[in-house]
Symmetry: C2
C-alpha cells in the first residue's frame, strides 16, 4: 500500500467512528433517560479519545509527509483528501489526549445540567460546569493557536469552517452592523403601515403539525427510508448520509415554528444525503463546514419555503391539515405570517431580518469569553446589555436569555458566526440557482423541488470538502462570500 | 501502576465500548431506518475490531502474566476480575481480527435481510447470507476450540455462559427428554378435563397494553429515570446498568404476550440495574452469563408473575385497564389463561412446560450446523421433522418455523440452551428466595416486589461475575444447576 492508501484506511476508521458519535449524540438528545448521562459521557469521552489516538498516532506525521512525496500520482479528490487529513492532524496533534478527554466529559456534564437548569431558569446551577467548559475551551484554543499560527478564536473557528478567519467575518459583520439596524427599522415600519396580520388559528395539534411536516419534508426530497424525524428540546440534524436524523419541537399554538424547523433540518439532511458516496467516511467526503451546512438549511427555510410561490402552493395544504378557513388562512395573510419581522428574545424563533443581530451578540460574547475578557458569572448581565444595544430588546430571564442555546453548554465556541455566514451563502446560492434555471422557482411554486435539488446536488452537495467554502461559493455563484446577496434579498422581499 | 491496574484501565475502555455497542444494536432494532443498515454494519464492525485490538494488544499476555505474579496483593474481586480478563483474552486471541470483522459484517447483513425475508416467508432469500454466517461461526468455533482445548460447540457456549459445557447440558437435557413428553401430556390432559378457559376479550388496545405494562414494570422495580420501554420485532433487553433499554411487541388480541414480555425483559433489566456499581465497566462487574440472565427474566415472568398470588393481585388492575367484566375476567379464569399449556409453533409464545422442547430442537439443530452435519438449505426440513418428533407439532411455514428467531441470523450459536438452563436456575432461585423469606410470596400477592428484589440483589445481582454460574447457584440455593426444582415447580403448579 502507498502511504496515501494507508492514510485512507486509517481515516476511514475515524470516519466510521464519527458516525457512531452521531448516534450517541442523537440518542442522548432524543431517547436517553436522565440516569444514562454519566454512562453516555463515558462513552463519548472514550470515542473522542479513540479518534484522537488514531489521528495522532506516532507515525501519522511520517505517513503524511510520505504521501506528499507521492503527490504527482494523486487525483484532485485524493489531493484534497490528503489536505483535509493534514488539517485534521494539525488540529488533533495540537491538543493533548487528556485535554480531549476532559473536554468531552465536561461538555457532556454541562449540557445535561443545562437541560434541567434551563427549565428552572437557574443559571447559577450551571455556572461551575460552564466555567469548566470555558476554561477547557480556552486551553484548547491556545494550544491550537500555538500549533496553527492562528489567534485562539480563529483556531476554534477553523474547526467549524476550515479556512474561515475572524478578519473575514469582521468584514461581513461590520457591513451588517452598518445596514442592519436601519433595515430592521424600515421593515418594521413598513409592516406596521401595511395590512395587519390576522391571527391564524386552527386545529394546529401536534399530530396535525407532524403530518404537515412529514408531507412537506417528503416534497422537499427527504426519504424516510434513509432518515427519521423526531422531537428534541432544540432542533438539530445528525446521523450519517444513509441514515439522517432530524428533530423538531412542537408547540400547539406555533405551527409555523415546527414546520419551518422541519424544513430547516431537511435542508441539512439533503446536504448529507447528497454527499459523494465514493468518498464515504473519508475527510473529503464530508460536508464543507458549518457555513455551507447552514446555507443549505437556510436556503430551504428562508429562501425557498418562505417565498410567495411556495407559500401559495402550501396554503391549501395548510388549510386542509389544520381545518383552516376564512381570510386569515388566505395566502396573503399566511405570507404576512411567514414574513413577520419583529425584535425578539429567541434566536431560533427569530425572522431572517433580525436573526443576524442575535448572532452578532453571541459572536461578541463568545469572543470575549475566549479572550478571557468576560467571566461566566457575568454572562447574564452582558447578554442583557448586548441584546438591548444590538436589537433594543429587554431580556426577561436567563431561560430565554443566555441559557436559550445549547452551544456553549455543549462546548461549541466559534460555531455561532456560521449561522449568519450561512444566511449570506444561502442568499448567494439561491440567487444563482434561480438565475441559472427558471425551473427552480417554477418548481417550488408547484411543490416540486427536483430542479432546485438537482442544482444543489451538482454545485454543492456532490463536492463534499473538495473546495474551501469560498472556492465552492465562487465556483457555484461567481463570487466569494459576502453580504450583498443577503441585503438584496431582504430589500426585495420586505421593502420591494 | 501495577500490571493489574494497567489491565483495569484497559478493560475499562473495552467495557465502555460494550455500552456503545448496546446503543448501536438497540437503535438498529428499534429506531434505524432501513437505509442505515450498511453504515450501521460498518460501525459495528469497527467497534468489534477496536475491542478486538484492545484485548489482543501484543503486551496483554505479558501484563496478564505479570498480574498473576502480583496475585497475593489482590482482593477476591480483583482476582475474579483478573480471571475474567484472562478468559476474554483467551477467547479473543484465538480469533484473527479479519475474521472478527467479517463476522460482524456478515451478522449485520444477514440480520437485516432476515427482517424482511421473514415477513415474506422467504427463506431462500436469506440462505446465502446465513451460509456466510454459519461458515464464519464454524471457523471461529474451530479457532477457539484449538486455543481453549474445548470442542467447537463448547467453545461457542463458553462465550455465553462461561464454564458451562455440553456434557453438563446433555445431562440436564437428557433428564428433560425423559420426563418432559410425559409431563406435557399429563398437564394437557389435566387441563382438558378441568374447567374450560373462557375467551378473555376486552378493550385490549395497544395503548391499554402499554399502560398496563408500564404500571406492572414499575411495581416490579423498573425505574424509567434509568431505562426505557420501546417496541421491536423481537423483544429484547439492552443498554447499560444506568440506562437499560427493554422492548416488547403488541398484538391487539394478545395482551398476555405483551405483558409477560415486559415482565420478562424487566427481569433482565433489574439484573443489570443491580450489578455492582463499584465494578462498572470491568469484566467482573457484568452479569454472570446468559443462563443467569435468563434466570432473572424467567424468575419474574414464570415463577413470580404467573403465580396464583400475583395473578390475584393483578386481576383487578387488568379488569380496570381493559374494561374487563364477567366470569372470563375472574382470577380463576385468568390463571387458566396464564397457565395454559399447549403444543405450539412459536418459542417466544410458548408456555413454560413446552418451552424446553423448543430449545431441545434448536440445540439439536445448531449442534448439527456447527458440526457441519446440517446444511443451511436443509434447515427448514430438519426443523419440520424435529418439531414434529419433539412436540408433535406440524410446521406450517418457515416464517413461523426456522425463521421465527433472530439468533442464528445475527450469528448467535450456542446461545439457545441458556434459555432452558435459565428456566432451571429460575426455579431453583425462586424456591430458595421464597423459602428463606416468607415476605417474598406475601409481597408478590400485594404487588410489592421489594422483598424478592432485596433477596435477588443480595444473592445474585450484586455478585456480578465474581462466581461461576454453578458457584453462584450453590451459594444462593445450596445446589448446582439441575432440573429437579423445575420439575417440582411444574408438577406443583400444573398437577398439584
Amino acid at each position: 500500500m502507498t502511504a496515501y492508501q494507508q492514510l485512507e484506511a486509517r481515516l476511514r476508521r475515524l470516519g466510521v467512528l464519527d458516525g457512531v458519535g452521531q448516534v450517541l449524540h442523537w440518542d442522548r438528545a432524543v431517547m436517553m433517560p436522565p440516569g444514562g448521562a454519566t454512562s453516555r459521557a463515558d462513552q463519548l469521552a472514550e470515542l473522542s479519545l479513540l479518534q484522537h489516538e488514531m489521528i495522532t498516532a506516532p507515525d501519522m506525521g511520517d505517513l503524511l509527509a510520505a504521501a506528499d512525496q507521492e503527490g504527482g500520482a494523486l487525483s484532485d479528490w485524493q489531493s484534497a483528501n490528503l489536505r483535509e487529513m493534514r488539517r485534521l492532524w494539525h488540529h488533533a496533534t495540537a491538543v493533548p489526549g487528556d485535554l480531549v478527554s476532559a473536554m468531552s466529559h465536561a461538555n457532556s456534564t454541562c449540557e445535561m445540567l443545562w437541560r434541567t437548569a434551563r427549565e428552572r431558569d437557574d443559571f447559577a446551577a450551571v455556572v461551575p460546569a460552564l466555567e469548566d467548559v470555558v476554561n477547557l475551551v480556552r486551553q484548547m484554543a491556545q494550544a491550537k493557536a500555538d500549533a496553527l499560527g492562528l489567534s485562539p478564536y480563529d483556531a476554534l473557528l477553523d474547526a467549524y469552517d476550515p479556512g474561515m478567519r475572524r478578519a473575514e467575518i469582521d468584514g461581513i459583520f461590520s457591513e451588517l452592523r452598518l445596514f442592519l439596524p436601519d433595515l430592521i427599522g424600515r421593515v418594521i415600519d413598513r409592516q406596521a403601515a401595511g395590512p395587519a396580520l390576522l391571527p391564524v388559528t386552527g386545529k394546529t395539534t401536534v399530530a396535525a403539525q407532524r403530518a404537515l411536516g412529514e408531507r412537506i419534508m417528503t416534497a422537499l426530497g427527504f426519504d424516510t427510508d434513509f432518515g427519521r424525524l423526531d422531537v428534541s428540546h432544540h432542533p438539530f440534524s445528525s446521523g450519517v448520509p444513509d441514515d439522517v436524523r432530524i428533530t423538531t419541537r412542537y408547540k400547539a399554538d406555533a405551527f409555523t415554528e415546527s414546520l419551518m424547523g422541519v424544513i430547516h433540518e431537511t435542508g441539512h439532511a439533503l446536504y448529507e444525503r447528497g454527499l459523494p458516496a465514493d468518498w464515504r467516511w473519508q475527510p473529503v467526503g464530508v460536508a464543507r463546514g458549518m457555513t455551507m451546512h447552514e446555507s443549505q438549511s437556510l436556503l430551504m427555510e428562508m429562501q425557498a419555503c418562505r417565498s410567495p410561490a411556495f407559500v401559495a402552493f402550501a396554503a391549501p395544504i395548510m388549510r386542509e391539515t389544520f381545518g383552516g378557513a376564512g381570510p386569515s388562512w388566505e395566502t396573503d395573510n399566511l405570507l404576512r405570517l411567514y414574513h413577520k419581522v419583529a425584535r425578539s428574545l429567541i434566536r431560533v424563533e427569530a425572522d431572517e431580518v433580525t436573526y443576524p443581530a442575535h448572532i452578532l451578540l453571541r459572536y461578541d460574547l463568545e469572543s470575549a469569553m475566549v479572550a478571557g475578557d468576560l467571566r461566566v458569572a457575568d454572562l447574564p448581565g452582558a447578554w442583557r446589555d448586548g441584546l438591548h444595544a444590538l436589537l433594543g430588546v429587554d431580556v426577561s430571564d436567563d431561560k430565554d436569555g443566555c441559557m436559550q442555546d445549547i452551544h456553549w453548554y455543549g462546548g461549541s465556541f466559534g460555531y455561532f458566526p456560521t449561522y449568519t455566514l450561512g444566511a449570506m451563502a444561502a442568499a448567494q446560492l439561491f440567487h444563482a440557482a434561480s438565475a441559472s434555471d427558471p425551473g427552480v422557482m417554477a418548481g417550488i411554486g408547484r411543490g416540486n423541488f427536483a430542479p432546485l435539488l438537482t442544482w444543489l446536488r451538482a454545485h454543492v452537495h456532490s463536492k463534499g470538502s473538495l473546495l474551501s467554502t469560498n472556492e465552492l461559493l465562487a465556483s457555484a455563484t461567481g463570487a466569494p462570500l459576502g453580504a450583498a446577496a443577503f441585503r438584496a434579498h431582504v430589500e426585495r422581499r420586505y421593502l420591494g
